[in-house]
Homo-oligomer: 402 residues x 2
């Protein structure tokens, strides 16, 4: 499909603003969803003049992680393009990955006489982790031809990236987790699962022994367990497929990381929604496409905080006029997946989506809610088609066939 | 897709109850469908608190047989997994098929000087068929290394199963029908269409001549015509893909046979809906998944009996409270295809479906009817996705990607 779209692309001066309210969709508590109870006059008014519907990120019944959720929004088939755990962890810790990288999630662990006593090294404090990981970075910079990059995370978690001089062949990160998932066992030795993985395996063995040598006298964090070996996918870039110069505006590193994987400019910014919108305004003239990510709705959903999630929807509603004042040619407001407070997690439910442009029917839905959006002119459709709708409404797609 | 689902399965103690009202969907007679006119207070009340929609068994406009209709409900792509005519006939006659079997539909016919006089042997009485076929079974038990199993059907029809010591390679049943479809012609000789089919062809030639020898002095049924040669598909089992211990509750052999093909326990039961529900209750603690099949709605549809079909819907409604009292974690009520009385046959129309679980929006449809269900939160979707929704609502699927 992306191949077809690429062939139909025509450039113009339109601007597409793609607002992702993370975890937007919800489920009813006493009959009403978070969107039902939130006071959101601006969103509801916009609904009446927009095309609306619900989209399914991966497939009916499948709950997407953030990776598949976002790739799908940007038109990448999330089953074809699977982002490894190590890569997502590294992105989340703020490492800017390159296509030559292999990324690994690592736990500090406690080992005694070759047996794992604690897979999480007693959940050492994050400060201690920072100190230890900083020390490792000082000592270990290259192994064979691979640059080694460390990034500390929370408690016992960190990430390691092996940066090679050139992209590695497919299958190069097919290495078994060394974490046996149980205490009282030995770590699993490095086991390449394909011949292509032997180069990374050899380096990883050296990495483990160098780390172990360096931390062997620590009281708790005296060993490491490696999981989620993964290569950065050789995924086509956004500008290459769509001809869009694109900017990611997100405060969480993982979303910026995902965006940078597909070639969006993804500068680090801090603050909350207000700062994000200021940043959008400042850069509005310099890009064709803007991915504006708001995290907090999802966070409250994950916490099971129904009222909190609703209040964050209201917060977005209050800044919506500022966004509208930019008058983008195409404005999309949606989520990457649903996060119903009653489930305290991502879910499989379709995600509400609104698209404003001069070229929609409109007038099918009365309010920005899940139930109303079942009546929308988009129906219920695969998320991966949304980018095509954005491009079409921006006049950026030629006719297919004569 | 089933591969993806298999990777995401997590087990728990939930129960999924899947009620299939065969031939459920209908069409209007004087403006109202069978579901519109049926008094069904329990179904309508359940609708309000459930997720609803319509599903398409094979593809828009395609009328499914019972095989594709049910496979699709259970998450098997009905185009990928085609069940041969011989296999369906044998299942319908109550033969428990194994993966080593080749099944064939057979007609008794009348032949004279090598020319077919009557392709149906004057539609001999079913009793006569039973006697003849019983005699054949006594005489013919093995041909080469294949066990031969006969099962009489109605009038001139019966089935033969060749049971081999091991599963045969794909293509082993690619043999032309011997029925020329016209009187006044000779039977078509056994013709293998692939090299793999030669083993079965050789045995089938012997089978025909042994049968002919045995019945040559019959006045009408003095020969046989063979059709629908088919292998039992090597289809993955339900427990293997979904991790569900599953029970089929159906009074008609063909549905039990289909269920047993995908590894459901499918004990023979007799009686009607009441007996089925008693059986469900008795076995409720021992399974994760229940396929409860009600045949009668379809039968009245096939007869063109509009009022009769509506009354059978009412009959189901009257026992629904008993089903609800079991309080399954996920309850699905749907059909395998539509059978509008006005068409007197299966049809291509989407099939109403209701799913009750704690994790639905609900409140989108006012009554259990085809028209109301176009407003449902599921929209109109491929039947093959329904199993994924069942698993998701039962909490039996992990998140896809991080």
């Amino acid at each position: 499909m992306q191949k077809l779209i690429k062939d139909l692309i025509q450039k113009n001066n339109t601007k597409i603003l793609f607002v992702v309210l993370d975890g937007l969709g919800g489920l009813p508590l006493k009959g009403k969803t978070e969107l039902d109870v939130a006071r959101k006059p601006h969103l509801d008014a916009l609904t009446a003049m927009s095309a609306c519907g619900l989209h399914i990120p991966v497939a009916m019944g499948i709950t997407p992680g953030s990776g598949p959720g976002h790739l799908s929004l940007f038109g990448y088939d999330p089953i074809e393009w699977q982002i490894g755990r190590g890569v997502l962890e590294a992105l989340g810790l703020g490492i800017e990955l390159k296509k030559t990288d292999v990324a690994i999630r690592v736990n500090y662990a406690t080992i005694q006489d070759g047996i794992i006593k604690d897979r999480r090294a007693g959940r050492i404090p994050t400060d201690k982790n920072k100190k230890l990981t900083g020390r490792l970075q000082e000592k270990i910079r290259m192994i064979d031809d691979a640059e080694v990059i460390f990034a500390p995370g929370m408690e016992h978690r960190f990430a390691v990236v092996l940066r090679f001089p050139e992209p590695l062949p497919q299958g190069s990160a097919s290495i078994k987790d060394t974490d046996p998932q149980k205490e009282g066992k030995s770590p699993i030795p490095i086991t390449p699962e394909t011949p292509q993985a032997e180069r990374v395996a050899k380096i990883t063995e050296k990495l483990i022994s160098q780390i172990a040598e360096s931390i062997k006298n620590e009281p708790a964090a005296n060993f490491v367990l490696l999981r989620g070996f993964s290569q950065v996918p050789d995924i086509p870039h956004f500008d290459e497929i769509y001809g869009l110069k694109s900017l990611c505006i997100a405060t969480y590193p993982m979303y910026r990381g995902l965006a940078s994987l597909i070639g969006m400019d993804s500068p680090a910014i801090t603050g909350d929604l207000k700062e994000e919108i200021d940043f959008l305004k400042k850069n509005y003239n310099d890009y064709d496409f803007f991915f504006l990510h708001m995290k907090k709705i999802d966070s409250f959903g994950e916490d099971g905080n129904f009222a909190g999630k609703a209040s964050k929807i209201e917060e977005f509603d209050s800044v919506l006029p500022e966004i509208l004042s930019l008058n983008p040619d195409v404005l999309i407001i949606t989520g990457d997946h649903s996060t119903p407070s009653v489930l305290k997690s991502h879910s499989w439910h379709p995600v509400p989506v609104l698209l404003k442009s001069p070229y929609v029917l409109g007038d099918t839905c009365k309010a920005f809610t899940e139930r109303e959006f079942t009546k929308g002119e988009f129906g219920i459709f695969p998320t991966v088609n949304l980018m095509t709708l954005a491009l079409a409404n921006a006049g950026r797609l030629k006719k297919f066939g004569a």
